[in-house]
């Protein structure tokens, strides 16, 4: 996709001030894509790291690579930069041979220069590029550096030194002359609309140099210093009278994630939903279970923020959005501008793990900026806003049914139920982009949310990893879209794979227990992929080296291949449970096969990070709400994993230098959840089929069993 849309070397590579400049449309969200691109360019062109820059990701300048999501950055941007660099290397060698003689195969590229052995010819790559016509097509078959062409060890993570010194710039840190700070004044919940504001409160704010910006029920306060804006917004909020309507429906969401409530049902074949009738569940299955995941939040450490400036012609926005080009179209449409009037630049925010409040904050900053021409507006959300207003990962149910005969699964059915995972402001029919942006719902001329449409892509949305990786006969897989549920939802790390793998890998454990077989053996018995078996074998060897388990502890394993086509991961977790059902994570082993390894340390970091985020989902996280609105408003009411429950983690990567590099940022969360649930069962005999596994949840499940 990236290469098709941007087929020229110049789309990806240039020079600036004698340095190599790499362009990408993928943004660095802590997953180190920029470090990986640096390494790829070095491997192909051998230019030292300190002479390579990664260009800012900006509309109009960077390749349009859609959204940075789905663990696709290495495959898409990485592949494009690799092929562009390899094509360029070929051109440079041909040019050198033509100018100075020698066979092309005699020229050596090393240390950022071309050299013809036996001569004094030494041509700097960065110098040669200046004279090279880069607007020529990338050869997708250009031979790439074999093994690791570069001679340097992996580069240090970009920005790390600055992060430890406090001078790495996040969007929150931008500070322009004349800039005003902004805070939004939110309604009590998503259904509320403004009736009135006390005029005297507005006057008091204005007397302090603050100014209210209003578009219907969208309210924001701006001022030159940040804290008075924060305080003023709180005071004005108290002076607002809201029509709260019927409030947020206080429903048991799992009771609504059913066939009867589904607005769309699709048979999923080879990972892809099909139009047409869905066959009924055949009778006779000897195992049935239902696995559930609540609404959970991205919970970025930094509340969302954006900087916007409108000069009367052009709107410049700095945002931590994962998709600057789709956001540009949505914002232009929302604001009645031509998209060429909107320039969006990515600036890092904190880790987002999917579609958080970034895109909404960008539009809100722009709404304020349009009312204040020429003034840079820095909008920041508060902690409470991020917790209450980001689009959540949808609650999800997975119903499994299966037949096992003599240790073989001979029939298998899985039905997934959830609201949409696709809440990003992508362009589409019926103003699809604007309809997904929060502020538009509150404006004087509101743009109401569109009804969710089923995602029919392969392993997309809720049916990602619904298709088991195992060789099961008689598979029946069904996707059930349920809409009209209480909360706005969108993409969070792994989409449906978290719940689906939780279900399938818990199920495999349950099957092993029923059969009295070993959890490794039952998986291997249903796997024909040798690389999968190699991962399980390596995991089993590692597990044998773990300390012995005390009687109160438990061990669980799980295996999955993300989207059934990307990184393969096997995980083992050892836990202990005390008599209050508090779960401690003691040991974790992760074995992964991500094909050819580029940034080995970055890969390990992604696998560890995915494990710990999923451990947090498993043990702590659940959005709570009532009629009055979201009650998970901070880190006390929505607890997450902290340093007091971090296990010893060992990561083994099986490098496959001859295999395609695949992304790993979302490979470990799914198996993590199941491995923890399986370990809890091993420790306590209690089967947790609903996340999270908090002490009161476990005790409740114990009573109900």
């Amino acid at each position: 996709m990236s290469l098709d849309a941007h087929p020229l070397i110049a789309d990806w590579i240039g020079t600036r001030d004698g340095r190599l400049l790499i362009r990408t449309g993928k943004v660095d969200i802590g997953q180190r894509i920029s470090t990986a691109l640096l390494q790829i360019a070095h491997e192909e062109l051998t230019v030292p790291y300190e002479l390579i820059d990664i260009a800012a990701v900006r509309t109009g300048e960077s390749p349009d690579e859609g959204i940075t999501s789905g663990s696709n950055s290495v495959e898409q941007s990485g592949n494009a930069v690799r092929r562009a660099s390899a094509t360029l290397r070929g051109l440079l060698i041909a040019d050198a041979a033509e100018r100075y003689g020698g066979e092309k195969s005699d020229w050596i590229v090393e240390g950022g220069a071309l050299h013809l052995p036996g001569t004094n010819h030494r041509l700097l790559v960065t110098e040669m590029i200046k004279d090279t016509h880069l607007a020529c097509p990338i050869d997708p078959e250009a031979s790439i550096a074999q093994g690791h062409g570069g001679t340097l060890p992996a580069p240090p993570m970009r920005g790390l030194t600055a992060m430890t010194a406090g001078n790495y710039t996040f969007v929150h840190d931008l500070d322009l002359p004349g800039m005003l700070h902004a805070r939004v004044i939110r309604p009590p919940h998503a259904k509320a609309r403004l009736k009135s504001i006390e005029e005297s409160a507005i006057q008091r704010a204005e007397a302090k140099g603050l100014r209210l910006i209003q578009d219907g029920s969208f309210l924001a306060l701006i001022g030159p210093k940040e804290w008075p804006v924060v305080e003023g917004a709180l005071k004005l909020s108290a002076a607002c009278d809201w029509d709260i309507g019927d409030g947020i429906p206080e429903i048991d969401v799992f009771g609504h994630l059913t066939t009867a409530k589904a607005v769309g049902r699709f048979l999923v074949v080879d990972g892809t939903p099909q139009q047409g009738p869905v066959p009924d569940l055949p009778s006779g299955h000897n195992f049935k279970a239902r696995y559930e995941r609540p609404y959970q939040m991205h919970g970025a450490l930094a509340p969302s923020a954006a900087l916007a400036q409108w000069d009367g012609e052009k709107l410049c926005v700095h945002t931590h959005s994962q998709g600057i080009y789709p956001l540009r179209e949505s914002m232009a449409d929302s604001l009645g501008l031509d998209k060429n009037q909107v320039e969006i630049t990515h600036v890092p925010g904190s880790g987002c793990y999917g579609h958080n409040g970034a895109d909404d904050a960008a539009l809100e900053a722009a709404l304020i900026a349009l009312a204040m021409p020429a003034v840079p507006i820095l909008l920041k959300w508060t902690r409470e806003e991020e917790h209450c207003w980001e689009p959540y990962a949808p609650a999800m149910v997975v119903e499994l049914a299966a037949t096992m005969e003599r240790g073989r699964i001979t029939a298998f059915s899985a039905e997934a139920f959830s609201d949409t995972h696709r809440g990003r402001p992508r362009p589409g029919p019926n103003r699809a982009g604007p309809s997904k942006q929060l502020a538009n719902r509150f404006r004087l001329e509101p743009i109401a949310p569109n009804s969710a449409q089923p995602n029919m892509g392969r392993h997309a949305g809720m049916h990602r990893n619904l298709d088991p990786i195992y060789d099961f006969a008689n598979k029946r897989l069904v996707k059930n879209l349920v809409t009209g549920l209480p909360h706005r939802t969108s993409a969070m790390r792994t989409l449906g794979a978290a719940a689906n793998i939780f279900a399938i890998e818990s199920f495999m454990d349950e099957m092993a227990r029923i059969d009295g077989s070993d959890p490794f053996a039952i998986r291997r018995a249903h796997l024909s992929d040798p690389r999968a078996v190699a991962v399980l074998d390596a995991l089993e060897r590692q597990v044998a080296e773990l300390p012995g388990l005390p009687a109160t502890d438990g061990r669980g394993i799980a295996y999955a291949q993300y989207k059934n086509q990307m990184t393969r991961v096997g995980i083992c977790v050892d836990v202990s449970a005390n008599d209050r059902a508090e779960i401690r994570l003691n040991h974790c082993v992760i074995v992964a096969d991500a094909g050819r390894v580029i940034d080995a340390d970055g890969l390990v970091a992604q696998l560890e990070g995915g494990f710990l985020q999923a451990a947090s989902w498993s043990l702590y996280e659940k959005v709570v709400w009532n009629r009055d609105g979201i009650q998970s408003r901070d880190w006390d009411s929505y607890p997450v994993i902290r340093f007091d429950n971090i296990p010893a983690i060992k990561v083994i990567v099986l490098d496959r230098p001859d295999e395609r590099s695949v992304g790993a940022g979302e490979a470990s969360p799914g198996p993590t959840i199941a491995a923890i649930a399986n370990a809890i069962f091993d420790a306590t005999g209690i089967r947790m089929r609903r996340m999270p596994f908090r002490p009161d949840d476990i005790l409740r499940q114990a009573v109900s069993e």
Partner: protein, 151 residues
Amino acid sequence: MTLTLHVNGRDHVITSDPDTPLAYVLRDELKLKGTKLGCGLEQCGACAVLVDGQAVLSCVSSAASFAGRDINTIEAVGETDIGRRVQAAFVAQSAAQCGYCTAGLVIAATSLLGRHPLPDDTAITEALTPHICRCGSHPRVLRAVKQAAET
């Protein structure tokens, strides 16, 4: 009466309202943007600064309450031997992903090693548990703190 804060080795006459939480004064008035705001509720640790050598959260307590204290922010941590070691260890261990929690964690580790040159695992956990990292860099941070203690 004007408020003077002693920050990173210098006195600063503060023009912000003295009731402003310290973090906002550091960031907005003194332009020390390294101190991060994550919650404004003393729940996440992103805003930690060193006050008389101890890690203190700066997002709630008023600037006035820090008058007469020796405040050091992440920008000045590298000026002490311990701080430099902590920073180097974080880099050596790649102890960050997005980096938003990093400043607070470097402050917490520097404060800890100032009190306990060779902290045990329990002391390290206690010092870091007020801090949230959402990217899951915890194992690397724990290794970094140990490395800084041992070098």
